[in-house]
Symmetry: D2
């Protein structure tokens, strides 16, 4: 059975999504593939597509768990899982991974992060990628309320951690 790592982060319509977050996502994808892992994500654009692009450069396998149909998938998805349950598919993305890595992100990413927290799914936030990830880290969001995430400073540290949890 292969190691499965889920990636969460903003879709392409996030105006605050930085080039740095995109670069980190691509590198995360490359590293997961190099280690023989399967990359699972929401299958759409932005962070998701960047991570898939990285994984495909290294001949990895990419799975997209989609809100509705296969038409929603980015072109770097190998295995599209259409769900027809809209945003509820977020929990499936989070639940599928042996570990979850979050990069940037808005409320949808926070939806996946919070699901990880209530389900005790290993979660890694990559610092400096903006969005809800940095707001959680910098604002100490609910740090005293049963939070158990890891903070990584780079793609390398995040993937290393994800494979060792």
């Amino acid at each position: 059975m292969k190691k499965v790592i889920s990636i969460c982060g903003s879709d392409v319509d996030d105006n605050y999504l930085s080039q740095y977050a995109i670069d980190v996502a691509e590198q995360v994808g490359r590293l997961i593939a190099r280690k023989g892992g399967v990359l699972v994500c929401g299958g759409q654009g932005g962070v998701m597509k960047a991570a898939c692009k990285g994984a495909k450069e290294e001949n990895g396998i990419t799975v997209g768990i989609l809100p509705y149909t296969k038409k929603d998938a980015n072109e770097c998805i190998d295995i599209a899982i259409p769900t027809n349950i809209g945003n509820v598919r977020n929990y499936l993305v989070a639940n599928s991974g042996d570990a979850v890595i979050a990069i940037g992100g808005r409320w949808g990413t926070l939806n996946e992060i919070s699901y990880c927290m209530v389900s005790e799914k290993p979660l890694i936030l990559i610092k400096g990628t903006g969005g809800c990830v940095d707001q959680i880290i910098n604002g100490n969001l609910m740090q005293d309320i049963e939070s158990h995430y890891f903070i990584a400073n780079s793609a390398e540290e995040a993937v290393e951690k994800a494979f060792n949890l």
Copy 2:
């Protein structure tokens, strides 16, 4: 068809749950019932039970959408909806309401709040009730990232808003 208001907030095992949050929840329950609304919640303890208790004092109807079986329900639930899908039932609680009112809360409540944001479900946060609700308000969590919640200063203001959205 009756107006349905969903309530989210901490279960009884939240050590930071204040008496004020419990009092607000009870009052929210009373007011929803007085206005002829149906109260939907996750069916368990803490904020959920307090809101149901208030609703029953005013002969309202309470619905509990439960993680597993009917045994999870608090004693003020009239209609128990067991789901057997664990924490995934959070999205059903959020999706069921014509509006959602959040009081205090931890990651599970943030799970419901974030689902409201991505689904454009009307959401009211009651200020001063602690937990993730106050952390969102005071920390301006993602205030610039497509947030569209309302802030209420009391149970009265929250229920008034919930019925008028």
Copy 3:
């Protein structure tokens, strides 16, 4: 906590739906309400609406677990639970009841019936109401394969059984 009985059966666009099935559904609704039970169904037309109509004649409470939005609900639904998960909501209808009563029905009803079988949810089929219900009874469908449903000959027998399981 109130007794909850779920009703499954054809929507109004089933050309084979008989007046007898509609009459039985109405009577089932009346009897559930008279006994103080809550009627849960898929919230739409045909058998679902007939059962709700019967329940409202006796001042019962009706809950509709809807495929998408509240707009899908028939006019006899008191509490509409919109789910946004389409046909997947079928399993929620089946899972919500303390017992499930099936009347007539097509593949959607068979979806709910089969979910009851795998989940060991008490199920009552009303004989003579046509559709998949009579095909299961008359064709002995999978009678040797872990089937554990009850066959009722009338609305009265079905509701009596549902309250006593």
Copy 4:
């Protein structure tokens, strides 16, 4: 994007599961893999495991959408998707495929078949494999009620059809 074919059928505890059904499942797995398709199934034993075994003999990719955790997966699953939603995961198995092939099966398989019917997902039943598949074919189950499945007489015919729908 790869072609995805979902396989439904009995788990190993089905006393009526025949060696013929197992052989057909293995051959279906081999053929899907030879054509470059991805095999999705419920990830457990019996028909599911046989199909995965066949696919792995031909170096195919196998995905198991599991009721609870990765521990439920058979040893021929490459990518395990744990869902924590129990039998509700049946609909995900059915919804994931570009086409669905059913072999033998009990109520769980009928749950997936009925979901295909209501969702207009292309479905192929392999004749002679027993269980609900043969009961549907031989008993003409709901043949007049909006059924739109294909009947195949062999693994070869089924996979050929699945790739051409």
